[in-house]
């Protein structure tokens, strides 16, 4: 919606002729995007979650580098080596007043695994792959869900019935069942796994988008666009979808968060990412039996999973509050 400049109203007064009121400032209305942005910025939980998420992503991608670009961390996640001190972590976060040693990072802050690989590098690599999987799944699911939901909601009738029955077919199959079956067919790489997973998790978004479309297609702007000669594709993607953007974005964020947890669950059952590719879920499932003797192998990837899922969930919740026009109460 374009910015509207409201003409300044004339002040009522019996003696003064109607004229423009002089102000030092201009009054303009906020666009919806600006409104949402401001509400989001004020949501403290979501903003702190966004900062933490950005730091985590930056750490994961800059520390060991990605796609050939080297990072600032020396150890590699593939190089096995000497296991020092049973592989225990060298990270010391207690300052010298408590500990005596002082804070230090050390050569292996997250420890080493059983063949001597640096666990920090391994965790960072796992985080990169998990983030990639989550993002790809979210993207694929959103694209498919929006297309199917919009077509079903816009055209209604037989197409709607057919598409919704198709959605129901996928919905009746328990998610873990179909993900596990699909995961088994996959060659083990992260990218193919995420594309396959994206093909099965789009159902709730499709239903939501269809619901929104069913109500929005009766609005006047659709009729106006039709009268001006727009074809259906244009109306769907240029006019109606931008109006559902709130629901879509919120749902996409929540899909990303649940995709991480889904991938973790699949890797635990053995149907997720396989060797040589890695991910946080695979790291945890590999080292779950080592928990009693070498707990760091289990704690660090788990903490990163929880961190990413938690921050993305908070961001999604903040977005939902920001997009919600009925949000009338604020903290006093």
């Amino acid at each position: 919606m374009p910015e509207i400049e409201t003409p300044a109203p004339a002040t009522p007064g019996p003696a003064e002729p109607p004229q423009q009121v002089e102000r030092e400032f201009t009054v303009e209305a906020l666009t919806q995007r600006q409104l949402v942005f401001r509400r989001f910025l004020r949501h403290r939980g979501a903003m702190s979650a966004l900062v933490v998420f950005a730091v985590a992503v930056l750490l994961a991608f800059s520390s060991i580098g990605v796609g050939g670009i080297p990072g600032w961390w020396d150890a590699s996640y593939t190089a096995s080596g000497q296991v020092v001190d049973g592989g225990s972590p060298t990270l010391d976060a207690m300052p010298s007043v408590i500990d005596g040693d002082g804070m230090q990072v050390g050569a292996h802050p997250f420890g080493q695994d059983d063949i001597g690989r640096d666990y920090f590098a391994l965790t960072m690599r796992g985080t990169q792959r998990s983030l990639l999987i989550a993002l790809l799944v979210g993207l694929t699911a959103t694209v498919i869900g929006v297309v199917i939901g919009s077509v079903a909601g816009f055209f209604r009738g037989k197409i709607d019935a057919l598409l919704m029955r198709g959605t129901d077919i996928i919905l009746t199959i328990p998610l873990l069942l179909i993900s596990a079956v699909v995961g088994r067919m996959n060659d083990g790489g992260a990218v193919s796994l995420s594309l396959l997973l994206g093909l099965v998790v789009w159902t709730s978004l499709a239903r939501l988008v269809r619901g929104e479309f069913l109500s929005l297609r009766e609005k006047e702007f659709v009729e106006a666009a039709r009268a001006m000669g727009a074809n259906s594709t244009r109306i769907i993607f240029r006019h109606i979808v931008p109006n559902c953007l709130g629901t879509i974005i919120v749902n996409a964020t929540l899909t990303i968060a649940s995709a991480i947890l889904l991938e973790t669950a699949l890797s635990f059952l053995g149907f997720g990412v396989q060797n040589p590719d890695t991910s946080l879920g695979k790291l945890i499932s590999e080292y779950q039996t080592a928990f009693q003797t070498r707990p760091w192998l289990f704690w660090w990837p788990g903490l990163f999973i929880v961190l990413i899922a938690l921050t993305v969930n908070f961001i999604g919740d903040g977005l939902r509050d920001a997009f919600d026009p009925k949000q009338t109460r604020v903290r006093a």
Binding site: R165, D168, I169, I170, L171, T172, I173, P174, L176, L177, I178, A180, V181, V182, R184, M185, A257, L261, T264, A265, F268, L269, G270, F271, G281, I284, S285, Q288, F291, Q292, F298, G302, I305, V306, A309, L310, N313, F314, D317, R329, R331, A332
Partner: protein, 512 residues
Amino acid sequence: MPVFVIRRLVVSVFILLVSSFLIFILVAHSGDPLGDLRTDTSPNRDQKIEHRIEKLHLDQSDPQRYVTWLGGASKCLVPGLGCDLGQSVRDQDVTVLLSQALSATLQLVTAAILLSMVLGVSVGVVSALRQYSGFDYTITFSAFLFFSLPVFWVAVLLKQYLAIEANDWYSDPRIGITATALLSVVSGLFWGALLGGNRRRRWTVRVVAALATGGVLQYLSAVEWFRRPSLGPGLIALLSFGAAVGFAALLAGLHRRNILYACLTTAALGSVIQFPATSWIEDRTWASWLNIGLLALSAVAVAVAVGFAFGGLDRGPAIRACVLTALFSGLFMISDILLRTVPSYSKKVNGRVLATTGAETPDLHGTFWQNQVDQITHLILPTLAIMLISFATYSRYSRATMLDVMNQDYVRTARAKGLTERTVVVRHAFRNALIPLTTLAAVDLGVIVGGAVITETVFARRGMGSLFVTALNQVDPNPVMGFYIVTAVSIVLFNMLADIAYAYLDPRIRLT
């Protein structure tokens, strides 16, 4: 409505057919069914391969195999013919496997679902009533945290920190000063947030609760209650009266004396009946689920009679409150018996009271009550693991619906009429907030049968989850299809029930 049900069923059958075909094809192609046999070194390897090809019809095309399976499965619909869902690669009947797995899974998830529903909804409702308070923020953050936890990560952590540490503690069950202090503070904060009120009242409640908790914990520790736990007749009576007052206050308000007296009478009857009742139940010849069930029914009947007699004009709330009091009183009695069985059970399992794997201790040879304690201790950890996430979902959802309802006009009208806050909340707001929750609960019940896969794998319980994972690893379509059929039928049925329940509870909805 019959038209709705029939139309839904017909469409569901069609959907189930298509999706079962899809799953069959996916499973059949997800790997090599002869994989383990190809690397087999035994002399009759070729015969084994032939036998498996014949059994799984691997020489036929996929649609043919599917039709064979479908023919067997459709015999289930006719009550007379036996159900033939095929056999697994280990030559076991899938129907037998399924029924065993199903009962094991249901035993696991029932307690988790009920507890998480009750706790989640109550916490969510209180959180909504105290929006933007410290309690609300804590609960919201906890809910988000629990959403973001991977189930098996939590399960492994629980196994280590709860089970092993708790079992170590149980060998010398004393509560230290730091633990007492921490628990007292938490308890004080919790009760203060729960009971609410103005600043002064909250602080009084906090201090009193903290002191009470601290005192009780220190007393229990000093008396070594944990070695020989029991509730005792006095405490049972006290708790029954407490429950009576609580339910009367919640459902009717303490000023309605007739309902209060009805509940107190029920509690008094319970406190008296507990002596013969507990000795009957504990008696070896009596102990069985049938007898406990009979006692429960008679307790409810007595409660209904008391409520009816005292009710006067408010028979409905009176009967409800009395029945709840009677059930809780019975619950306290049963807990007492279970607690008193713990020492003898602990001796049988060498002090490792909280079990980490399996559904029961093998070769326990215990009495009826020891078996019950055994099953319960095996259920505690998996139930906790399932409850965490379920609780978060219910509390978020009930908070959202309750907030929605509290902002409606009719709540404002009710307040303007001069009704007490308790009546407005319990009678008007809560009932309307429950309607969308029914949908959520029904759908949740539908998916729960197939949804505990991870928990069952981590805690090594043989249920639907392990059936599915094993079959999938062996590329064995028949058990997977059996698993799918049970879960899909459950989902479809409960979705339909959810729609019907919604239409029944909300008169604005018409079933189409």
